[in-house]
Symmetry: C2
Amino acid sequence: MAAPVTRRTRNLVHTDPADVPLQDALDALADPVRRSILRELSAEPDFIRACGTFDLPVSKATASHHFAVLRAAGLLEQADRGPRRLNRLRRAEFEARFPGLLALVLAEGTSR
Amino acid sequence: MAAPVTRRTRNLVHTDPADVPLQDALDALADPVRRSILRELSAEPDFIRACGTFDLPVSKATASHHFAVLRAAGLLEQADRGPRRLNRLRRAEFEARFPGLLALVLAEGTSR
DNA sequence: GCGAGTGTACGATGAGCATCGAACATGTCA
DNA sequence: TGACATGTTCGATGCTCATCGTACACTCGC
C-alpha cells in the first residue's frame, strides 16, 4: 500500500540537505511565495498536502516551479500518490544542515 | 577624539536590526560578495576596516552599493574617520533578531 | 480506451538587481 | 588653496529569475 513506484516517480530527484550549499538555501528562501509554502506545509502532518492544494497567488506552472526549487534545495520531500504529489517538510535534515534557518522562516509573521 | 560629526556623517542612516524584515535580511545575505564582506569583517576588531580595504571582485561603485545594502539590512554599522568609512559587524543585535542566521554566513566555507 | 484531474516542460516576457564608468562630494594634509 | 584619497551618486547595461499560457505526461476511475 505504501509508495507504488510509478513511471513518474522514477523521474523524481531529491537533494540531500547535507549537500546543499548555503547559496542555494538562501536563494530558495529569498522568495516570499516559497516561504509561504513552507509555512503552510509546517502546519500539517507529513505527506498530507498535495501541490495543488496550496492557496498561492501564482499560476499552476509557477507553483510547480517553486516546488521544484524547494525540492532541489533539500527543503521538501515529495511522494506520488495517484495523480497527486504529496509533500513533506524536511525539518530535521534541513535543521541539521542549517541550524536556525528554517525556524526563522516558519516564525515569519508570527507576533511582532 | 571620538567621532567628530562631519557633514558626511549626518547623511549616514542606519537601520535597527530589530526593524529589519526577514525578506530584507535574506535578500542582503543572498549575494556572495556581501557575504564575503561580512566574513572578512568578522575576522578583525570593530571599526578597523574601511570600505576600500576589502579585496572584492567588483568595482568601487558596486562595492559602495553592497555596503549600503548591508547597512540597510542592519548588518553593519559605519563610522566616518577622516575620508574613510570604518565598519563594524553588528553581531549581537543581528543575532538577537535572527538567531543562527549570521553564524551560518560566517561559517560558510569553513571545513566541509 | 476515454475522460477528468494533477502536475511538469517549454518558450516567451518583463521586472528587478548587480554591475560598470564617470562625475561628484567630502575630508585631510601640505 | 591645491592635490590627493576615499566613498557616493547617477544613468545605462546586461543577466537572472519569477511569471505566464499552452502543450504535454501521467494516473486513476468509468
